[in-house]
């Protein structure tokens, strides 16, 4: 359980505003706005979230993606090539929910495929980051909320902020995607489900 006492008043106001906004989210655009507000709160440059279906401990199907402001060129490559299968962040969150900094995750998945994804993301400015995930046991789905930056300014404090917000953002994402979205495979189809 996160203790709220260690947040500043400004942070508390922002967290509560984001939680309130998450409750009222009904469109992908509103979820995107949530991501952008949260990005600013944790001093990240980029944000994105997605929901996938787990099978055999791996994400097999991407059910939905809502972009905050990730470079769309990178997202196109990422989903077209199915890079989420090798992405250390996705692999980590397929097993663990708590918010984690990517520098710690990278040390856990130091294989050729993981290095390939990380180095390509690096070219788009997606270098450092923190991410949080929510696992939905009944559906075998996970939602991942990712916040990236060029510089590594992420600290434990930012992880705690994200811990406070992630579940509420997940409710918003589930509401927007209808809760039980059908699996889709391509980025175009993903976009279509969100229109």
């Amino acid at each position: 359980m996160v203790s709220s006492k260690e947040f500043s008043k400004k942070e508390l106001v922002s967290i509560l505003e984001i939680i309130e906004a998450a409750q009222n989210c009904v469109t992908p655009g509103e979820v995107s706005s949530l991501l952008l507000r949260t990005k600013d709160l944790v001093f990240a440059d980029y944000s994105v979230c997605g929901m996938g279906r787990l099978s055999g401990g791996e994400v097999k199907d991407i059910l939905a993606v809502v972009n905050g402001n990730y470079p769309t060129e990178w997202l196109d490559v990422y989903f077209t090539e199915g890079l989420y299968r090798y992405d250390p962040v996705v692999r980590y969150h397929s097993s663990f929910s708590p918010t984690q900094s990517w520098s710690d995750i990278y040390t856990m998945y130091d294989d050729v495929e993981a290095r390939f994804v990380v180095s390509n993301a690096w070219d788009f400015g997606i270098r450092h980051g923190i991410s949080s995930s929510i696992f939905m046991p009944g559906l075998e789905n996970i939602s991942i909320f990712a916040f990236a930056a060029r510089n590594d300014s992420f600290r434990g404090h930012h992880k705690k902020i994200l811990d406070s917000i992630a579940l509420h953002m997940n409710y918003a994402l589930m509401r927007v995607t209808g809760g039980f979205p059908r699996p889709v495979k391509s980025p175009d189809a993903i976009e279509d489900t969100l229109k």
């Binding site: 359980m1 709220s4 508390l12 967290i15 509560l16 505003e17 309130e20």
Partner: protein, 248 residues
Amino acid sequence: MDYRKFTKKQLADILDIIHASVSCRGEKQMEGLLDSIGSLVSGDFSVCGIGKGDAKGLSETPKVINGSYPWEWLKIYGERELYYNDPIIWHNFQYPGAQLWDQTYELFSGKISRDFISMSRDFGLCGGVSGGLFDKGTGLSTIFTFSGKEKAFDGHQKEIMSVLSPHLHQALVRVYKETVNVRCSLSGREKEVMCWIREGKTNWEISMILNISERTVKFHVQNIERKLNAVNKTHAVAIALDQNLLTS
């Protein structure tokens, strides 16, 4: 909501309560939640309830979880079905959200309402703030009430309840559904066995009464303990009584 008007401590408490609502499981935790909110809104007495209804009001006896309300008042309230006369409950169905009692009472000037208000004041429930939601889809209405001295409540507490109500509603609906699921999952035979345990009968005596083997009675008892997460059959009876599981 303009959160900047709250103090840092109040904001931290509100966020802690939201966190606790998300993870709230079972009536005991709900009582703890009521206690925390009571401290935040300066309520001497706290209680929450959930029931089905429509725009006309409640259509069934609500389930109540008591934080610190006077038991004697709750007994009278339940026995005389005063929830049908309670202006706060009526108002919550019409205008879900937060409400200050004195403002709501001004809208209800009839004799039934006046008698109800007068009676509740006799138990020290002079003023209060309540918050709740009514989900038209499920027909479930929740209310969280904090009461105390008449002048102890103002718009500030109303705003706190306004922020907390959606989270508390979700928590109470979850607790309520868990209770209903447990109730549904106890078979008729298990309820029968529980009733005889409550009467102080041994497994052997129950086997004679129900004309089944003592081993079968033991099987039912173990099943009941497992379903209710009880450590023994006495504990199971206590849980069943507490959750009103023995009524058909």
